[in-house]
């Protein structure tokens, strides 16, 4: 089923592909969480235009297939006169797209903290930013950490979609090796196994983390 010799011959390409996928995942996670956090705060704001904008953003990205967003940025941004190339394009796409999903998780996390905690922080004289930074977000992030990381596992799998615009991420480098050597079955079986070997142990770890956090609370 798997041609190990072929894989060994192309190991550089495959390792580079995996590093690309991980880098894209990591960047989109960090950027997505930061932007998602701002979106969540905006959405919970009592200032209407801000919360409407955040709601619009989130609903838009959550209602459009990821493939379409990848195409949209790749083909349409140059049309408006920005030459950013496929690499930058997907890093931006994934960050913006994931921000919508992260923001919903973060919003739920913030709403899981009781109003009383915010009142207590205000009553001590803390300002809104201080209350968020020292009281609300640390508690909210602790509660939502397992869900955020689960979303990141999904994100890692979704990064394989960049293959369709010719990027050599892990999936993309498998496609290259497969078509150059007419080894579709072998390479795609290998790719599936590799994705499984990364994602499944992480999922197991997250399950244990979830239990531990539940105990702390």
């Amino acid at each position: 089923m798997i041609d190990w010799q072929l894989i060994a011959d192309n190991r550089e390409l495959l390792v580079e592909g995996m590093l690309y996928s991980l880098k894209l995942t990591g960047t989109a996670m960090l950027g997505g969480i930061v932007i998602g956090c701002l979106l969540a705060l905006a959405r919970l704001s009592s200032f209407k235009p801000l919360s409407l904008f955040a709601a619009f953003y989130v609903n838009l990205f959550r209602s459009v297939p990821l493939v379409l967003v990848i195409f949209w940025f790749y083909f349409l941004i140059p049309y408006f006169g920005f030459q950013i190339g496929p690499d930058k394009s997907v890093f931006i796409t994934f960050t913006l797209f994931e921000a919508a999903y992260y923001s919903e998780i973060i919003r739920a996390g913030i709403q899981s903290i009781s109003r009383g905690q915010v009142s207590a922080a205000y009553a001590l004289g803390l300002t809104y930013p201080q209350t968020m930074r020292y009281i609300l977000l640390p508690q909210a992030f602790r509660n939502m950490l397992p869900v955020l990381l689960t979303q990141t596992v999904v994100l890692f799998q979704d990064t394989s979609l960049v293959t369709i615009i010719g990027i050599k991420d892990f999936m993309g480098s498998n496609v290259v090796v497969a078509s150059n050597n007419s080894a579709m079955t072998e390479m795609y079986t290998f790719a599936a196994l590799a994705y499984f070997c990364v994602c499944f142990p992480v999922s197991l770890m997250l399950k244990r983390l979830h239990k531990r956090i539940a105990v702390i609370r």
């Binding site: 009781s114 009383g116 905690q117 207590a120 205000y122 009553a123 001590l124 004289g125 803390l126 201080q130």
Partner: protein, 242 residues
């Protein structure tokens, strides 16, 4: 110290406070009581601006709470508040709970804040628990920490919002003892509570509220001796049987 003048508040169409006026002088202990839903918690939360109100004024040490240009965080840092459900910060140790606002709001350095915190923790009898987390303490202990946390800010007045309502009966006294001691030291206090024994022993004045109105505002002896309003008489006859 605290001047409440004709304060009214609505939730949409529903009026929760109607023309509430009273005054709490420096060093005075005032108990606010009344049936649930009478607006007493809402009124006390208006005093430090946790709840907005639509008409009337509240002055705390001369500063208008409702005025748009008032620096609310600054005003709140001078008024301590204790909540029904303690609201200690569960992700921070007891010491960190005591130090956070001292350092971030008052700009005290860590050593100063730490010493102040430990001193107050000692005063509420919990110095041994300084390094624990809120979840490891009983309700009564948590509420005493919450009082210490408020006192660490050197408040000019203290607001208590049903501080013993969420406690098991055997823990109520340890919290009331701390409050009694505080009153004896001359702290200005406004307490929403159903503890009529505490009111009798400690309060100077009792305010009785019903349907969002201050129905009775009288010196303690007068209130317990001969309440004027029928509603307060009914309330007392029910609550004092215990």
């Amino acid at each position: 110290m605290i001047d409440i003048n004709n304060v009214s508040k609505w939730y949409g169409q529903f009026q929760v406070l109607t023309d509430c006026s009273t005054r709490i002088n420096k060093g005075e202990v005032v108990v606010v009581c009344g049936p649930s839903g009478s607006g007493k918690s809402t009124l006390i939360k208006c005093v430090n601006g946790l709840e907005p109100f639509q008409s009337g004024t509240i002055l705390v040490d001369g500063t208008s709470v409702g005025a748009p240009k008032t620096n609310l965080p600054k005003l709140r840092s001078r008024v301590g508040m204790v909540f029904q459900h303690f609201e200690l910060f569960p992700h921070l140790s007891i010491t960190e709970n005591l130090c956070l606002a001292q350092m971030k709001v008052l700009g005290r350095n860590h050593e100063e804040a730490h010493n102040k915190g430990l001193q107050l923790l000692d005063r509420v009898g919990l110095k041994a628990h300084a390094e624990k987390f809120p979840g490891q303490l009983s309700g009564g202990q948590q509420q005493r920490v919450a009082i210490a946390r408020a006192l660490a800010m050197d408040p000019i007045a203290m607001l208590f919002d049903e501080p013993t309502s969420a406690l098991d009966p055997e823990m109520i006294n340890e919290v009331l003892d701390v409050m009694t001691q505080l009153a004896a030291e001359g702290m200005t206090m406004m307490c929403v509570t159903h503890e009529m024994g505490f009111a009798r022993r400690v309060a100077h004045r009792v305010i009785f509220m019903d349907h969002g109105q201050i129905v009775e505002d009288a010196a303690k002896d007068e209130f317990f001796g001969s309440p004027r309003s029928e509603r307060a008489q009914q309330f007392l006859s029910k609550i004092l049987q215990h």
